[in-house]
Symmetry: C2
Subunit: 133 residues, 2 copies
DNA sequence: ACTGTTATTGCAACTCATTTTCAATAAGCC
DNA sequence: GGCTTATTGAAAATGAGTTGCAATAACAGT
């Protein structure tokens, strides 16, 4: 029962994500991966990301256009992002304002909460200065 | 300058959304629309939804798979949903816990907040009973 | 009601992220 | 090294959403 194999491709995907200090889409990861491992297939990148997400090593979010983004999961704090509509920069928003809220909901509605998705949109300081927003 | 025309198709999309007490995807709306107006085009549904969203009559959210859902906008309160992973039911979550949070962020980071996206996932009471979750 | 302008439509083709299929490959246990 | 099979590469398929364009119909002006 040799369940999981530690392939070059899996290591690469994980290391790209570790070295990039920011969340990346599967497409971005693939483009970087090809530079170091020219025959890697797009599907391989997707499969490994899916895998890493399901075992909790990587966390997944979604852009407004439906495209997923991925980042290394931090065990002892889950993050959300503020996303600038100008430059697309994603700024960590480390304190989750929903921990208590979830508990209240569970209590009052009988709904069993497993997780949530939250992102905040707007314009970063930089873009506001440039575009006078 | 006869900017906007009030077409049958637009009325239909809007009325389907009004009569359904729940958010629907473009696909669901299209399938219902065809029953009453057999030649309506999928693109027409999409175009009208886009239009209604941009003028604030309809609000738009996104499922975990990237598919958009739409519902009639309520002017004086914006809603979020708790979404059951079992039966896909979407339960209104009327009080937004982020109004204050947004202000704090703006103040502390210089980020100009234009909006946010929030949904809570889990299992409704019904599904918990059935599946013993 | 008739006419002309043009916003909107229907349809088909397209885009693009993601998934699937399947034969070929390579991890990792012996 | 040899065997088993998880994983891969390549290509095709999927599916939501978009786009180009000629035909249509809303509606303002008459
Ligand atoms: Mn959170
Ligand atoms: Mn809110
Ligand atoms: Zn910015
Ligand atoms: Zn349910």
């Amino acid at each position: 029962m040799s369940a999981v194999r530690n392939t070059k491709q899996k290591q690469l995907v994980l290391s790209l994500l570790k070295n990039s200090g920011r969340p990346m889409t599967a497409g971005e990861i693939y483009r970087l991966a090809v530079q170091q491992y020219p025959n890697i297939a797009k599907s391989t990148v997707y499969r490994n990301l899916e895998n890493l997400v399901s075992r909790g090593e990587v966390s997944q979010g979604m852009h407004q256009n439906g495209e997923s983004f991925y980042s290394i999961a931090d065990e002892n704090r889950h993050l959300h992002y503020m996303i600038c509509k100008g430059c697309k920069m994603m700024i960590d928003f480390p304190k989750c304002p929903l921990s208590n809220v979830e508990r209240e909901i569970a209590k009052s509605s009988g709904f069993y909460v497993t997780g949530h998705s939250l992102q905040i949109y707007g314009y970063c300081k930089n873009c506001r200065d440039k575009a006078k927003i």
